[in-house]
């Protein structure tokens, strides 16, 4: 296919296309869109879909970097296209290359099959398992306990870390950074009652000990989270699971007791705070 004429007023968007019904293998296709300030990559994809090729397929929903639908590989980096300006991604020739998330099967164009991503997520029981008896008032976490979570609760499950991980590419049994980050969140949550079970699940050669510390998950995360650090923390805790479980039982007692609503100063009676 001949390349269209390029000009500074127009940006060239190279998109990886693949239709399993008609294409033997993926190919790159170029589109021209206006190079306007304030245009995001998602805007550019919408313009292409609405004005040039309605068959272009991609996921998007909220347009506010919170739903995690629009993670794609742009110029070799996994990012959310809804929050990324077009002009910031153009090279000197005014070209940006958009591909689907790597290492995942392509369903069509920029849409990938995330089945393994979600299966591994469910494997770590991502939900909170609270004590059987509720405290008289609210569960209270100390500021140190909240800080130890390192904002892990803000993960939007976009899959950018998962598909940037070479270990995932090499071993589909690997739990993956997204699920391990969620497990980290639950294990360090003082309200959770099954940290030992969680550590047993992730403390294996399919879990935290499979990570090769490549750091791609950190580089890819659009929310600036740190799955590698979470994995390192889980590694340490998995090696002293029994002591950690005992500390959690004691912490649960202080949560569910009559002093539940009192502030918990420092780390007294609580879990070890991992920096």
């Amino acid at each position: 296919m001949a390349s269209p004429v390029r000009s500074k007023s127009m940006a060239t968007v190279r998109v990886k296309r693949f239709n399993p019904d008609s294409d033997a293998k993926p190919y790159m296709q170029e589109f021209q869109v206006p190079n306007l300030q304030g245009t995001t990559l998602l805007d550019a994809l919408h313009r292409i879909k609405h004005e040039q090729d309605g068959s272009l397929t991609f996921r998007r929903s909220c347009r506010h970097a919170i739903c995690g639908s629009c993670a794609m590989n742009v110029n070799g980096r996994n990012i959310l296209v809804c929050k990324t300006p077009l002009q910031g991604q153009l090279d000197r020739k005014g070209v940006v290359t958009i591909k689907p998330l790597p290492y995942l099967p392509i369903i069509k164009d920029l849409v990938v099959d995330r089945s393994t991503f979600w299966n591994e997520y469910l494997r770590v029981k991502p939900w909170l398992v609270p004590p059987a008896t509720s405290p008289e008032r609210e569960f209270r976490m100390s500021p140190e306990e909240v800080a130890a979570l390192h904002n892990a609760e803000t993960c939007i499950m976009c899959g950018a870390c998962y598909s940037a991980c070479q270990v995932v590419a090499l071993n589909k049994k690997y739990i993956g950074p997204h699920a391990l980050l969620k497990s980290f969140l639950r294990v360090l949550d003082p309200r959770d009652t099954i940290p030992g079970e969680r550590l047993a699940e992730v403390g294996t050669d399919e879990g935290v000990f499979r990570c090769h510390t490549i750091f791609n998950c950190i580089d890819a995360c659009p929310k600036n989270l740190n799955p590698t650090q979470a994995i390192e923390t889980l590694r340490r805790l998995a090696q002293k699971r029994t002591a950690f479980e005992a500390a959690r039982v004691e912490r649960q007692r202080t949560i569910a007791g009559p002093l539940a609503a009192e502030p918990t100063p420092g780390a007294e009676g609580g879990v070890r705070h991992v920096p």
């Binding site: 940037a164 590419a169 490549i214 950190i218 580089d219 890819a220 650090q229 590694r235």
Partner: protein, 115 residues
Amino acid sequence: MYRSTGFVSFVLRRLTGIALVLYLIAHIWVIGSVNGGTELFNSRLAAVQTPIFKLAEVALLAAVVYHAFDGVRLLIVHYFDVTEYRKSLFYAAFVVSAILTIAGGLPILLFAFQG
């Protein structure tokens, strides 16, 4: 392929690890021949004294040094929670390895090619 400094270090770690295993096999092949008598040992030792093997020794030195310092880099990450310095640590391991390879490799090559 998702390219990054982490990926480069991952590939180098594996390649140098494989190189070390191959060296170990060759090492045992030579040293183990001492059980076969002096002649066999001397012949095998002579086989690995050629200039090409001297170059390979420098490559081996590079592999050993890089693999070691990459391991140190990972230990630092494991024990000191310094993931924000991940790229600096990689470059530091690479530069230190390069310096030590040059420092150790030059004498090897000088002795080898000056007779």
